[in-house]
């Protein structure tokens, strides 16, 4: 059975943070969502210390084999999440990973302590990479900043800490190494690639925020190369993602050394994409031939 930092998973397929609102999906699809939940673990949208409304529209733009989003991390804030959302997410039949982000180490520490203290939470993902808000770039672009943040957070919980890497930096492998030195239990990659679009009707930037992050199959080759280079630099388990839309795609990430894969944008096109990818992966020849085992350094 696949596992991630000691968390047993039914399949190696989870979701990418910010691409699935399990609460809204349950209201839309009913309890069928729980009976056939598409992911082996659920990663929440990123939670910030205070509530955020998100970016001004327009927020999404379709691109060749992908899309740009400029959502801006709308969320209820730490208090709202813990009070309203966490109890409902705890009803999901899979382990829960909560993504958090803050602009200062103190706020990061506060979020981490309060989230990690909740029994329902299996692991915490640290979003140091979201390109939609200015705060995320600074830490995730810099190996020393990343290591320093991990130094500040590592002692606060024994639960697994997953560092979500940004692809929008010259050397993601060096940042991953900084995360490892600081005591991360795993890294996840890639987040979206900084991108923009022009509205042909106006000649102006199409997105309300001016720019956003590119995702979908268009980014998959970039994700694979970042995975390869990070794999070479660190011994940590890696959650690989970026344009995975089939089992064959997922097998490529596993072949390059990802322990687990995440499905993001494809869930927009297919609400059960996670289940489909897992099923296809099982029967994927490439997966069977793969000689690269998932690393377990526990």
């Amino acid at each position: 059975m696949p596992e991630l930092c000691g968390i047993e998973l039914e399949t190696p397929v989870i979701n990418a943070s910010g691409t699935y609102d399990a609460i809204a999906a349950r209201e839309t699809f009913g309890d069928a969502l729980l009976e056939d939940f598409p992911f082996a673990a659920f990663v929440s949208k990123t939670i910030t210390p205070e509530a955020r409304a998100g970016n001004a529209p327009r927020r999404i733009w379709e691109t060749p084999a992908g899309m740009i989003n400029s959502i801006g991390l709308p969320n209820k804030g730490l208090d709202g999440f813990l009070a309203a959302d966490l109890p409902r997410l705890a009803e999901l039949p899979v382990p829960l990973i909560v993504s958090i982000m803050a602009t200062t180490r103190e706020d990061f520490a506060r979020c981490l302590e309060r989230v990690a203290a909740r029994r329902e939470v299996a692991a915490i993902e640290l979003n140091i990479s979201c390109p939609n808000v200015h705060s995320g770039l600074i830490v995730g672009e810099n190996p020393n900043e990343t290591e320093a943040l991990m130094d500040a957070l590592r002692g606060l919980t024994e639960k697994p800490l997953i560092v979500k890497l940004t692809p929008n930096t010259a050397d993601p492998a060096a940042v991953a190494a900084g995360a490892e030195r600081g005591g991360a239990d795993a890294v996840s990659l890639i987040n979206t690639l900084k991108a923009t679009a022009v509205d042909p009707a106006t000649g102006e930037p199409a997105l309300g925020n001016g720019y956003g992050g590119l995702s979908g199959p268009a980014v998959r080759p970039v994700a694979l190369e970042q995975l390869r280079s990070v794999r070479a630099a660190v011994g940590l388990p890696i959650i690989g993602m970026g344009g995975i839309s089939s089992g064959a795609d997922a097998a490529e990430f596993l072949a390059l050394g990802a322990a687990v894969v995440a499905v993001g944008t494809e869930s927009f096109r297919d609400p059960r994409a996670g289940s489909r990818v897992a099923t296809e992966l099982e029967s994927s020849l490439l997966s069977e031939r793969s000689t690269v085992p998932a690393l377990d350094l526990d």
Binding site: A24, A25, A32, L33, P57, R59, I60, A218, D270, P271
Partner: protein
């Protein structure tokens, strides 16, 4: 009512011309019958992405007509205008092809008395391809004996269609339907708001509820006119939408108190007072 979980393949039963638009009919063997205002996410099973990697995302399309299908399930009619790679592909579907479909999604229109307790009737105001959800709403109002008038506006012959959805069994336009066209080729020359204004100015206007769907500028004009005359209205909005089930947070609509609604799960039907201003930026 919840939608079946996941997308499903549906067969194209028909694709016919309707003025300058197309009416594409799908056979949904599994889903419940949709309510007026609800929508589906649609993507052709083949040839999606054939134009420079687009269409990539499914398209959110509101249902214009539904009926029980021979052999079980529901027949779903969608009114489509080819304005980009997604709608062009959907307009080109041929019977026997398959379409990925998720839904029915979103909310439905409230009855006039749910909006205004002593409401006497309804005024439906549609523009362009946005007349689609009002066709199904008009049918419901007729079935339930809700007094209603229908005002439809179109730019010109090319940008006009779906009128057959507002026809009775005789094939003639229902008597309660009035047209405005900007080029004057049919109905009154002008805009649909020219037909609405005298109704809103009438003594009994406040006892009616306005239901509207259409292009952003028209929706904003209708919303503002209703607000000015103290008439309740419900707007079926459209917004760029990747998923249709609350996952992507792309379809954000600003609200008067600040913050945003997600049109897919909080709408697509919103009360006039839930919307600050209908803008091209999100509609």
């Amino acid at each position: 009512m919840t939608a079946p979980f996941g997308r499903r393949l549906c067969e194209v039963a028909a694709n016919r011309e309707s003025g300058g638009y197309r009416v594409v009919s799908l056979l949904d063997r599994e889903g419940p019958a949709p309510e007026p205002g609800q929508f589906y996410m649609l993507a052709a099973a083949a040839g999606w992405g054939a134009r420079d990697g687009r269409a990539f995302l499914p398209r959110a399309i509101s249902v214009a007509e539904t009926s029980p299908a021979a052999g079980g399930g529901a027949r779903l009619d969608f009114l489509l205008d080819a304005i980009g790679p997604g709608t062009e592909r959907l307009c080109g579907l041929v019977p026997g092809e398959e379409v990925w479909l998720t839904g029915p999604l979103g909310n439905t229109f409230a009855s006039p008395r749910e909006v205004v307790p002593d409401a006497a009737g309804a005024v439906l105001v549609g523009g362009g391809v946005g007349v689609a959800p009002l066709a199904l709403l008009r049918k419901r109002f007729s079935e339930h004996g809700v007094p209603h008038r229908v005002l439809l506006g179109f730019r010109d012959r090319v940008h006009q269609g779906g009128l057959d959805l507002f026809c009775g069994s005789s094939g003639a336009l229902c008597p309660e339907v009035r047209l405005a066209t900007e080029d004057g080729h049919a109905g009154v020359q002008g805009r649909v708001t020219d037909l609405l204004l005298p109704i809103l100015a009438g003594d009994d206007a406040a006892s009616g509820v306005v239901y509207t769907c259409g292009p952003p500028a028209m929706l904003e004009a209708v919303r503002a006119l209703c607000a000015e005359h103290g008439v309740a209205c419900e707007l079926a909005l459209e917004s760029p939408m990747a998923c249709g089930f609350g996952a992507c947070f792309g379809c954000a609509v600003p609200t008067p108190g600040g913050g945003f609604l997600r049109l897919c799960v909080d709408g697509p039907v919103l009360r006039g007072d839930q919307v600050e201003e209908v803008s091209h930026a999100y509609a």
